[in-house]
Symmetry: C2
Subunit: 178 residues, 2 copies
Amino acid sequence: MPAVTPLERTLDFLARTPDVLRALLAGLEDPWVRCDEGPGTYSPYDVVGHLIHGEDTDWVTRTEHILAHGEAKPFVPFDREGMRARDAVASLAELLELFARHRAQSLARIRALGLTPADLERRGRHPELGMVTLGQLLSTWVVHDLAHLGQVARVLAKVRGPEIGPWRAYFRVLSDRT
Amino acid sequence: MPAVTPLERTLDFLARTPDVLRALLAGLEDPWVRCDEGPGTYSPYDVVGHLIHGEDTDWVTRTEHILAHGEAKPFVPFDREGMRARDAVASLAELLELFARHRAQSLARIRALGLTPADLERRGRHPELGMVTLGQLLSTWVVHDLAHLGQVARVLAKVRGPEIGPWRAYFRVLSDRT
């Protein structure tokens, strides 16, 4: 296997997420994918919308912001409910396709920047967290995908939890985040 | 969308997991997929092996056991380390293909049984948990897939956790199961 740079490893991974979510969610019935874990939490449907919102306003925007402004100007805060505007109009199937398209565009924009290892050390300012680097931002994008994938799996599992009788005792995931 | 029976919903979901894991893991480097959360825990690689072992010794075997023996004879206990025998010889790519093949065979065997709604109420005896139903067993198969998918996402996230600097504060997944 050829040596892979940290940036390539990140971009390779990020390219997977639309396919993972499509394989997991496409065609599942609405009552399953619209369940969440209570007020202020995300359903699997919400997660896909949230990831699209991140493509549109977060990761690439902040990458360009660091390159343009460094630490001089903090990022615009990310709106964690920003995806709700699409809720009334888009089906899950539409969101999955939109996410795949926007993610591909994001990765093309990142690649077009021709980032060097030195660029990954460049600093920006997060409105809450303070000083961060571009490398941290890009790795956070990966962890963020994985955190939401885990959330989707957990929420889907919880919907089926009442069907498993005594086996419930074996699955800690069913009582996580409750 | 046509009405879907609980059994069809279960089989449809179970057919997805090999594609989900392939999209997520195929081609990822060994140091990433071989990480676990400490002694006695599973790496993503281990999870795929464990799922194969479940196809071979757990879900279909227990379904047939319930149909043959009811509550008269408990299931053979499942070996949670049973996948280790393949560790030295199979690559992740091989395990992913093996899982896809064995899962497809499992689903074909379940479909061939022509299970009725009444069959799903049939009872068996779990060696630790006592009385269970066939319907509970099949739903547990789904929850089990999802629990391990969440585990894979969590372990992959933890490997990248040290790269994200102060963003760590936003990701509870990084301190789950520690």
